[in-house]
């Protein structure tokens, strides 16, 4: 029989001293094996016969049962693992990486490892929707979007929409989720296949030197002037100009690791929701996502803060803002400092320091606008806290703001 070369075995993916995957040991007749693997094969064949719990169907190992039930392959040899797009679900129980990941994330033992293994398989690795994480990632994306946006809108009710988009992207955007996945210790397989460890992130990589696939490239917006309302209603929760590609559509395309890591984190949230219920998902979200610190005051980018502030004061019925010099030093030197305050009547709305009078006035107006937009109520109950809750006495209606000022 032909000997499979080392590169084909993908042995660089496995630790050198670890025993070979017992499913791969079934193919040992085609490889020069060590006696070690025969013992592994015998051992695992006995543990593989896990009793069928009510309603739970565990996939039986390829080498023990599939030969009897397979209709498509005429020979009795099971398909070599390298030909499979992703590992067998039963390999999840034997993967130390998955056990470690589950305990690292403090997930209860009743969360099945097979579900965790499924969340690590991107659609580009395995096109079959029953084996990849596409549907779970859609559910997880909606969950994350809901929890993040309600938290932001309840805690910062006056935030302008572009800042809301930026903040949501900072919490649950593609880069943030990719960072979170790497913080959780997710490693990626070099090439997807049935022989890789179930605990590795599996996706089809972009060939070195190739560009991004068509589906992920930046597309021209449908109109030159994409309004904020259009972004809210038509595209995604981050305010992109175009809707992102559907996870199911990425079945044959190579993807960057960021996309695969993002799909994993979303799929994990989705899997936690269906298996463990929403209270646990809310606690998980609070622990892993809301605990990340974001300074929202750095997300603002004003173009004409003085004009915005003047329209805001007119809308709210305050007196027109007036900029007054509070103090200054070094006016004729190389580094002057002017401290300017913006006043509405007798109240100072904001103060800013700059090296020119215009700069100081601009900073003061920007500070005044931030003071308005970053208003934060003291006690906040988010809408999802009332889901399934019998005691509604803790509910406090949230402040609904009329919107940012339009100039």
């Amino acid at each position: 029989m032909q000997r499979i070369s080392i590169s084909r075995c993908a042995s660089q993916l496995r630790a050198p001293r670890r025993p070979a995957c017992p499913c791969a040991a079934a193919n040992s007749v085609r490889r020069s094996t060590t006696p070690h693997s025969h013992r592994i094969q015998a051992r695992c064949q006995s543990t593989v016969a896990i009793p069928d719990e009510g309603g739970l169907h565990l996939e039986i190992a390829a080498n023990s049962g599939a030969a009897a039930t397979r209709k498509s392959r005429p020979s009795s040899q099971p398909l070599p693992l390298e030909k499979l797009p992703s590992p067998h679900p039963s390999a999840a129980e034997r993967s130390t990486k998955l056990h470690a990941l589950r305990s690292r994330l403090s997930l209860p033992p009743r969360f099945p490892l097979q579900a965790l293994a499924r969340t690590l398989v991107h659609a580009s690795a395995d096109p079959n929707p029953a084996f990849n994480n596409a549907s779970l990632s859609i559910l997880g994306r909606h969950l994350l979007g809901y929890y993040t946006s309600e938290w932001l809108l309840c805690n910062y009710p006056r935030l302008p929409m572009p800042v809301v988009f930026a903040a949501v992207e900072a919490y649950i955007g593609p880069k943030a989720l990719a960072t979170i996945a790497s913080e959780w210790g997710i490693e990626a397989a070099a090439e997807p296949g049935g022989e890789v460890d179930s605990g590795l992130l599996q996706f089809k990589r972009i060939a070195s030197g190739d560009g991004l696939p068509e589906a992920l490239r930046r597309q021209a917006p449908w109109k030159w002037n994409v309004t904020t309302t259009h972004k809210i209603m038509r595209t995604d929760e981050f305010g992109s100009t175009n809707a992102p590609p559907s996870p199911h559509a990425l079945q044959k395309t190579p993807v960057p690791m960021e996309e695969a890591a993002q799909s994993f984190v979303r799929a994990l949230i989705g899997a936690l929701h269906v298996h463990l219920g929403s209270p646990l998902v809310k606690r998980f979200f609070r622990d892993h996502f809301l605990s990340r610190h974001l300074d929202i005051s750095t997300l603002f980018d004003f173009r004409t803060p003085t004009r915005d502030l003047s329209r805001l004061c007119a809308r709210e019925g305050f007196e027109a803002p007036v900029a007054r010099l509070i103090s200054e030093t070094g006016r004729l030197s190389r580094h002057p400092v002017f401290v300017v305050g913006v006043y509405s009547g007798k109240d100072k709305l904001g103060e800013g320091a700059g090296s020119s009078l215009d700069e100081a006035r601009t900073r003061a107006a920007a500070a005044a606008l931030k003071a308005w937009y970053l208003y934060k109520p003291v006690e906040v109950t988010v809408p999802s806290s009332m889901e399934g809750e019998l005691d509604t006495s803790k509910w406090r209606p949230n402040f609904v703001d009329c919107g940012e000022v339009i100039v």
């Binding site: 739970l56 169907h57 565990l58 996939e59 039986i60 390829a62 039930t69 397979r70 209709k71 498509s72 392959r73 099971p78 398909l79 499979l84 797009p85 067998h88 099945p112 097979q114 579900a115 293994a117 499924r118 029953a130 084996f131 549907s135 859609i138 559910l139 909606h142 946006s149 809108l153 929409m161 049935g194 809210i232 209603m233 929760e237 199911h248 269906v274 003085t306 004009r307 502030l309 329209r311 709210e316 019925g317 305050f318 007196e319 027109a320 900029a323 509405s344 009547g345 109240d347 009078l357 806290s385 009332m386 889901e387 809750e389 509910w395 209606p397 609904v400 009329c402 919107g403 339009i406």
Partner: protein, 269 residues
């Protein structure tokens, strides 16, 4: 504040010379919670009690109004919007059921159906509410798609054992994972398309009470009324969520939006 003022005037202590020439109604229109500063701002001598008592939804802020209109009138005619609180209450009762007009507060009721195009956004608009409402509706739609009966379950043979796929594998099947194959972006896009949602909004009478400004008053379809109605629908959901909580908002989505689209919900969901 005009940007062309000479720098010297910045230092001036008298503010009166810097205030732009405006109608002398220094009215104070404030809602309950817009405290910008702890002490009350000083009111000008010409304090107009009438303008101060009117709520925000009813009038455009007097300081933002020019004394007369310079631009030509819009092509297609003037579009009249609803000003009557009773018609709005009727629409809410039609949508949210009996007592629907008491679910939201007064200002929020009007804010939820006010599009950004109305009055240049001077009376507030429902963008933020629509953002939250869309998140809620999308999540409820995903859950409804998962729990709706599926026609393409994993095939099983006569004994109920799942069949193999082309690689000879069986997936991990668990009752919790049932129905996931129905959840795709295409399915969601079909459910939540504006051609399906705008008739539902029209059934509730939202097209009569939504405050917006069409591009042409004689061609509402071409001006995008479907999109505006969808925004209003989502914004009402978002407003209910912020004022009444997620439980009530989820029920509104299930009963008033998804049920007319064909989903059925059992009693305990």
């Amino acid at each position: 504040m005009a940007s062309r003022r000479p720098i010297r005037s910045l230092i001036s202590t008298t503010a009166s010379s810097l205030r732009p020439a405006q109608p002398s109604k220094c009215s104070l229109v404030r809602t309950a919670a817009c405290a910008f500063a702890t002490i009350s701002p000083s009111r000008g001598p010409e304090y107009d009690t009438e303008a101060a008592d009117r709520p925000r939804w009813q009038q455009t802020p007097p300081k933002m109004m020019a004394p007369f209109r310079i631009r030509p009138l819009a092509k297609g005619g003037v579009f009249k919007v609803n000003e009557d609180p009773r018609k709005l209450d009727d629409a809410y009762i039609r949508m949210l059921g009996p007592g629907g007009d008491k679910v939201l507060g007064d200002e929020v009721k009007w804010l939820a159906i006010t599009h950004k195009s109305f009055d240049h956004g001077r009376r507030g608009f429902n963008d933020r509410l629509a953002y939250l409402g869309r998140r809620i509706v999308e999540l409820q739609t995903s859950q409804a798609l998962i729990s709706s009966p599926q026609e393409n379950q994993w095939p099983r043979d006569s004994k109920g054992i799942p069949a193999n796929d082309e690689f000879g594998r069986k997936p991990y099947l668990h009752p919790a994972l049932n129905g996931l194959q129905g959840l795709t972006d295409e399915a969601e896009g079909l459910v939540l398309s504006k051609t399906r949602l705008s008739p539902i909004a029209e059934r509730y009478g939202l097209d009569k009470v939504t405050r917006w400004k069409p591009r042409r008053a004689d061609d509402l379809q071409g001006s995008g009324i479907e999109s505006v109605l969808m925004t209003s629908l989502y914004a009402i959901v978002g407003a209910v969520a912020l004022e009444r909580g997620g439980e009530v908002a989820n029920k509104v989505v299930q009963d008033k939006i998804l049920a007319p689209l064909g989903f059925t919900f059992s009693a305990e969901s």
